[in-house]
Amino acid sequence: MRQKIPISVSIVIGVGIIVLLGYFIKFPVLAVMQQILLQWALTLAAVALLVGAINLLNVHFRRVSGRQKNSSYSLILILSLLFTFALGALFGPKSAWSLWVFNHIQVPVESSLMGLLAVVLAFASVRMLRRQLNLFSLVFLATALVMLLGAAPVLGIEIPGLHGPDGLRALIAQVPAVAGARGILIGIGLGTIATGLRVLMGADRPYGG
């Protein structure tokens, strides 16, 4: 029995093949088609950002209307979003008001979370060996300590062999770390190709087709 291929799958396969071939084969017609399709993708990606913001509003609005737990924070989020949007729409994204909100609210909040991240990572490092005590964990921790110590002078003192362009820290960062990262990236690249080919073949359909 012939199985019908949905239109969405046909579009995905067709567009994917054109863009993929456009990368490998330098053919004028193919390049033009690739450009057109990429332009459409850029527009759709920007629209998706807007749709995401609307989805965010919808989720928190439902929390507020449903009087769920911590819905007061959702109300603050909704009001903040609308206020910032109004500021940008009225005065422009480059205006002093918009930049004031960004510089005095968003940057400090996110920087604080980054500072919190430092504490969390330090705490996690302390507990890591208790959770999993093995050779890899020991090597991981030792490497992290060497990189931390070698990033800046220890109490103002540069330790020979550790600091400097020829020190241990530079050696680890430029040789084993790069090699390991390359290997992982190659594996990730293969996985990315496999995933992309599955989507191109229609075997994976994250788009609901």
Binding site: Q35, L38, Q39, A41, L42, T43, A45, A46, L49, G92, P93, K94, S98, L99, F102, N103, Q106, V107, E110, S111, L113, M114, A118, V119, V120, A122, F123, S125, V126, R127, M128, L129, R130, L133, L141, A144, L145, L148, L149, A151, A152, P153, V154, L155, G156, E158, H163, G164, P165, A170, A173, Q174, A177, V178, G180, A181, R182, L185
Partner: protein
């Protein structure tokens, strides 16, 4: 109006009835030439399908039957005063198959008589207790049946079984235990005849058996004196043969009762060899049966049908009574034949009901499961106690301690403006970056991609501020662009920060342009690299950015003097390198990245051909860059705090890891020791 005696209960019924009005047994057979002796003259019959010898037999039976009925009617008179429930019991006793009832009837017709005293004695004897019935005719019937099966059957209690060592059939052992099944089986056995016996011979056997068994059933004590060996089938057969009237001349020559040549040549009374062998075998089986039957005749035992009605308190249900259809027909033209189809269809035969246990049988496993289930159900209604959690756990205390220590280590040097720690020396890549920017001419367009998140502002501002300052010192026209939504605002913030700290005045479109956000990730970046005017038409405030003089000749990204990418993510750096760098031709790309991205970006710098002309990594790279600049901006301000904070973090992680590891090992040992204990 004539009367018909019911073959079951023996009560008189009008002859026009087909079914007894007392016990609802059939009065007239459905099939067969049998007719009540009351209404039919001997010799009368259908005649078409009945041979002469059968007719003669019918005449003989008819007379005997008539006589037996009269005898039964006589005995019945004394039973009229019996209570009603025995009558009901009798009606329920329709479960006794008709062939059994008919067999008893025929036995009575053959002249068997029993005095009332004998009947009364017989009532207390064996498994066929008649005391509850209180009906002589019932006793007579059972006695007739009993005598008929006497040569073949023994019904005795298990405790009275002979100790001769003979094997006792299972069905017979049950008689002593008052089991209806055994009772039923005994009935069945009574109807089975071993071997293939000619009909006339079988009839003779029954007659002889009746005569001999009649004597055996007189009084219980006398049962033990019976010479059961005398009741061997072969002997019985011989006797039956001798006593039976000669009927060989009446035997037809046609089937099914045609004798073989061998048998045809036999004289009356002479048994064929094959029949003798079969008879011997059956006698061997019947002998112990006879003994068992005899021994089971104990006083005060219930009859079989009454035993069957007793509730059984055992686990296993008793198998239902299976009617034995292999009985010997005792009357009619088919008398003596085995396997005769019943006159009435089986559906009219009521079977003995199956006995089921009245108590629920539960095994130990099921009882255990049931109690467990009950426990679970009861628990549902009981609220589980809520464990009170610790308000401040040791983990929270540890986090607070870490925060306080780091805050002090980082905050104090910034607060006091400490600059005691020396800035690092510029590395090769930092020097190369500085040389590239040194070659920028005034108003040369430099594309500045600000692709880091606000959360990474602390590190990236410190890493990139000196490079932006250097570009401003060189008078480059900065074109700001970003592939993150917050990038344009971050770019504006960076320019303002450098303006404020370094004293520059990059404020309007004559000095820099903000292209805004390029969506689409790598695809968008590739499009922007190939046709930037097509992707970006207007600036962040809606102004036409390409009208500025430094950007008038820009057609592709390769027309820019340099591309400086400032990002915290290695993926963004790779995308810029892999998508944009191939289109740059001679334009150099400079990367300012976070320390976490260095391992992934460095190969692009150190590879051949070199895809990245300059590389500045993290706060240390920014501090090294500032070390070569005439003035310091942010890295110098953060460097002492950065150094002290890192040192404290390392000490804390090291000490905490050792402590936690030892604590974990000790806790495991303690746990293991407790287990062993």
């Amino acid at each position: 109006m004539g009367e018909i005696r019911c073959p079951m209960c023996g009560k008189p019924n009008p002859d026009e009835l087909d079914v007894c009005q007392y016990c609802e047994a059939r009065l007239k057979p459905l099939i067969g030439p049998f007719e009540p002796a009351d209404t039919h003259e001997p010799g009368e019959g259908k005649g078409d399908s009945v041979t002469d010898w059968l007719d003669s037999l019918r005449e003989h039976e008819g007379g005997e039957l008539f006589e037996a009925e009269e005898e039964i009617s006589e005995g019945e008179e004394g039973a009229d005063e019996s209570p009603e429930w025995p009558a009901e019991v009798a009606s329920e006793e329709a479960g006794i198959p008709d062939w059994l009832a008919g067999l008893g009837k025929s036995l009575q017709e053959e002249g068997e008589t029993l005095p009332e005293a004998e009947v009364g004695a017989e009532q207390d004897a064996g498994p066929f207790r008649m005391g509850d019935l209180g009906e002589a005719e019932k006793a007579g019937e059972e006695q007739d049946f009993w005598t008929a099966i006497a040569p073949q059957e023994e019904s005795e209690p298990a405790e009275q079984l002979p100790s001769s060592g003979e094997e006792i059939p299972d069905w017979l052992q049950g008689f002593g235990e008052s089991e209806p099944a055994a009772q039923v089986e005994s009935d069945q056995v009574a109807q089975t005849e071993p071997g293939e016996v000619p009909d006339w011979l079988a009839e003779l056997e029954e007659t002889a058996g009746l005569e001999t068994s009649t004597d055996a059933l007189e009084v219980e004590p006398e049962l033990e004196e019976i010479d059961w060996e005398a009741l061997q089938p072969d002997q019985v057969d011989l006797e039956a043969e001798q006593e039976s009237p000669p009927v060989s001349e009446d035997l037809p020559a046609a089937a099914p009762f045609t004798l073989d040549e061998e048998e045809a040549g036999l004289e009356i009374g002479e048994m064929p060899e094959w029949l003798a062998e079969v008879s011997e075998e059956s006698s061997a089986e019947e002998a112990p049966l006879l003994e068992e039957v005899d021994a089971s005749l104990t006083p005060a035992e219930l009859p079989g049908w009454l035993e069957a009605m007793r509730p059984v308190e055992t686990a296993a249900p008793v198998a239902p009574f299976i009617e034995e259809s292999e009985g010997i027909e005792s009357r009619g033209p088919l008398a003596g034949l085995r396997g005769v189809l019943p006159i009435e269809p089986e559906i009219t035969h009521l079977e003995k009901p199956t006995a089921y246990a009245i108590k629920l049988q539960i095994s130990d496993n099921e009882r255990e499961h049931a109690s467990l289930f009950e426990e679970l159900v009861l628990k549902e209604g009981v609220p589980a106690p809520v464990e009170k959690g610790i308000a401040i756990s040791p983990q929270n205390i540890l986090r607070v301690v870490i925060f306080l220590l780091l805050f002090l280590a980082v905050g104090w040097p910034i607060y006091i403006g400490s600059q005691s720690v020396d800035l690092p020396l510029p590395s090769r890549e930092v020097n190369q970056t500085s040389q590239l920017i040194d070659s920028v001419m005034v108003s040369e367009p430099v594309l500045l991609a600000v692709d880091y998140e606000p959360g990474f502002s602390g590190e990236m501002d410190a890493a990139s501020a000196s490079i932006v300052d250097h570009l401003m010192i060189r008078g480059a026209y900065l074109a700001l662009v970003s592939t993150t939504p917050t990038g344009p605002a971050q770019a504006e913030r960076l320019i303002k920060t450098v303006n404020n700290t370094a004293g520059h005045a990059y404020l309007d479109a004559s000095q820099y342009a903000n292209f805004g956000y390029v969506s689409g990730g790598p695809a968008g970046l590739l499009s922007f690299a190939q046709a930037p005017r097509g992707v970006i038409r207007y600036g962040l405030n809606g102004e036409p950015v390409w009208e500025a003089a430094p950007l008038a000749d820009i057609q592709t990204l390769a027309d820019f003097a340099y591309i400086v990418v400032i990002t915290d993510r290695p993926e963004t750096a790779r995308v810029w390198i892999e998508q944009v760098q191939p289109t740059l031709r001679d334009t150099e790309m400079i990367l300012v990245v976070s320390a976490q991205a260095e391992p992934l970006v460095r190969p692009y710098y150190e590879g051949l051909p070199q895809q990245v002309g300059g590389l500045v990594t993290g706060v240390a790279g920014g501090a090294a860059y500032e070390n070569g600049m005439p003035r310091t901006i942010l890295a110098r301000k953060y460097w002492d705090a950065f150094s002290y904070g890192l040192t404290l973090a390392v000490i804390f992680i090291l000490a905490g890891s050792i402590f936690n590891t030892l604590a974990g090992i000790l806790a495991k040992r303690k746990y293991t020791f407790k287990d062993q204990k």
